[in-house]
Symmetry: C2
Subunit: 247 residues, 2 copies
């Protein structure tokens, strides 16, 4: 019961009540959205956790109505499951859902890299190289969480460069959901799960050379390897139990 509350970072404004002075209107909503989203992606709110409106609203010092809107937004992003009259729970991606997600990423990011190869210029290549450099630095310092974030940023920026807003929007949703399934199904034996920087470098090389086919192939192999680091065999890990009984 109190787990929901205690596992979230405390909001210093909580005691002031709901009617505190605020900067701009939607500002507050966005902040609550991002704090809950981050808690879900960090597994501080593990999959299946019931998200009750009153405790959450009190935690953040906002009204129930505002929190309700936030929950709907999170449901839209597929980070929470919202069912009529029975509240919202943190989403528990199933194994087949996770596989579908990676298959979708292969299709979409394959297309993105193919398009990017035609539209990209020297300026953009430099930007990508800089991002890869920063990513490598993070991993060298064992800052795994930062590295993973930078790695996701690489994919996101690549989509932006391709310039297809529809594909970029879809990919954005998939990139957001990816950490959730990685934490849920990470193979404990595997080394630190994350993107391989060398692959990113190879993609940049292929893009610079204008070799679309190679870029697509590397990207898809890259994603297959990432999926391969997960334990997505049929139900045999402990996490599966929570997925099965979460409803």
């Amino acid at each position: 019961m109190t787990a929901t509350r205690s596992s979230l970072p405390p909001n210093t404004d909580a005691a002031d009540g709901p009617a505190r002075k605020r900067g701009r209107l939607g500002q507050q909503e966005d902040e609550v959205f991002e704090r809950i989203q981050q808690a879900i992606l960090d597994h501080r709110l593990p999959p299946g956790t019931k998200l009750k409106e009153v405790p959450l609203a009190e935690t953040f010092g906002v009204t129930r109505g505002l929190l309700r809107k936030v929950l709907t937004r999170l449901a839209h992003a597929r980070l929470v499951d919202q069912r009529p009259n029975r509240g919202a729970k943190v989403a528990s991606p199933s194994i087949s859902e996770s596989r579908d997600l990676f298959a979708a990423r292969r299709a979409i990011e394959g297309a993105i890299v193919d398009i990017a190869c035609r539209r990209i210029g020297a300026r953009q290549i430099r930007t990508l190289r800089k991002m890869i450099e920063r990513e490598q630095q993070a991993y060298r310092k064992d800052e795994v969480r930062a590295g993973l974030k930078l790695s996701i940023d690489f994919h996101r920026v690549l989509a932006e460069m391709a310039g297809n807003t529809v594909l970029a929007g879809f990919l954005d949703e998939l990139l957001t959901r990816t950490p959730l399934v990685i934490l849920a199904y990470k193979d404990t034996r595997a080394t630190a799960t994350g993107c391989d920087c060398e692959d990113h470098g190879a993609i940049a090389d292929a893009l610079e050379a204008g070799d679309a086919d190679a870029a697509v192939q590397i990207m898809q192999k890259h994603l297959e390897e990432l999926e391969g680091q997960l334990n997505l065999r049929e139900e045999d890990s402990t996490t599966d139990l929570s997925a099965i009984f979460s409803r």
Copy 2:
């Protein structure tokens, strides 16, 4: 002002006031959603039309709160642009947005056909053939609207058969938006815009033969032809004006 109201089909319950007896709770919300959606897709509510909450709520005999939820859902489906404090307008897909949409369909439906080729069986092939048959009948009877709907159903069912829920969800959004851009940019000189049944047949053939590469290629050519029937050159048609001045 009253255009919003008069261009929608009248709701017989409107006069009874907001608190009429209803079947199930969410039922009413879904009905309003679908009625407005259909009006947008038919261009009875043309792109750029302001959707005011009070008149719409009265038209359907629902509360403003319910209507507000519906508008948010429509905004999520990208059929409506919702901006804070300045209401909701029917979406006006730009030319580049429309091109992006078709490029996304090529990527996603290419992947779907590829996956379907491996998972599909004789049973499913029969279902597809039956759908194509019905589609041809509709076109032969010059029932263009029905034919277009059946054509979209073909793409939707194919996605379902592939079994990737993530890709199917994305495609569903794109299929819903497609009629909106077709009506907005239909080349008046072209013959009735819609899917070519022969292409659908050829896709079924390739799937039956298990030739994934052929199926993917036909699907992508099919979508390119559909896009080619539209007038997506830079601003020269009258509809562009509304797109430019809609904000």
